[in-house]
Amino acid sequence: MKRVSLKKRFRVKNIFVFVVLVYLGFQMLSLGFLLDLKDVKGVAKYYLENDIKDTQSANVVTSIVVNYRGFDTLGEVTVLFLAATGLGAILSGYRKVKKQKILANTMLQYGSKPLLAIIILFGAYIFIHGHLSPGGGFQGGTVIATGFLLMLLALEGYEIKHGYIKWTESLAGLTFVTVGLFGLFLLGSFLADFLPLGKVGNLFSSGVIPIIYVAVGFKVGSELTGLLDNMMGVVE
């Protein structure tokens, strides 16, 4: 078989791909601008109509992710955990870099520390208010991990204690499963909403959603931080 280079193959196919992409793009535009909520059918219609009654959550996406499809989210968190564990297992054989070649300048070193606090506050805000405003555990956790990435880049010899990360991650995962088991024993189905629902718009409302999303936020944040730390530490 003759080996065709990637660039040449690209040239042959690109007209076809371009036409298909332009068509799909126009489809997406019409979906976004012309979609009427009355056209929504099936299970999506049920979610939109009964979200407030069932979960008292102002954010429909959150109530689908954590309440209606909570078991899927548990699987998603597990996939992320396995990915982080796999990367850690692959990279664990390498020794750590002790010294960086180029030091960050003084402004960056001193300015990044207060910035870490603000970034963590913002991430925590995103996952605590997951049932009220856009965002949730996954987004908030990623924002927190970005803050620790800034510390890893800016400060020389910044070490993240892997013991803390392991404990945070395990406790968060345990909280998720424990909440699910409480629902199983009290109401007869895994992740059933056993707490009082409260009133829509309040911080303490919509049952188990805030607890689970805070747990997911801690779990995702610690996992991604550990993953970045593993990658940064490998010697070249």
């Binding site: 976004g32 601008f33 856009p134 965002g135 987004q139 991604l224 970045l228």
Partner: protein, 86 residues
């Protein structure tokens, strides 16, 4: 409405240009920046399409974290793509 359409078209054009650049360039750091621009513009598009949750995920993971993961990987390996034609 008209402003939204103009912003959408600008975002899409910028995405196509950045994706094209990311494919054609042989400097991998530039390619990573190009793909991060694609993610950033995609997050603006998601916001216009009334999906703020997805927009936040795309901005934090697509434009933020994955860019840095790629950059770290490039720093540990090689920066320039080898020419395949020869």
């Amino acid at each position: 409405m008209a402003t939204l359409v103009i912003i959408t078209v600008l975002c899409v054009v910028l995405m196509v240009v950045a994706a094209w650049f990311a494919i054609r360039t042989s400097d991998l750091v530039s390619a990573v920046i190009g793909s991060s621009v694609v993610s950033l513009m995609a997050s603006v598009l998601f916001l216009i399409l009334h999906a703020p949750d997805v927009a936040m995920t795309e901005a934090a993971i697509g434009a933020g974290l994955s860019t840095f993961v790629f950059l770290i990987a490039i720093r540990k390996t090689e920066r320039y793509e080898k020419d395949e034609e020869q």
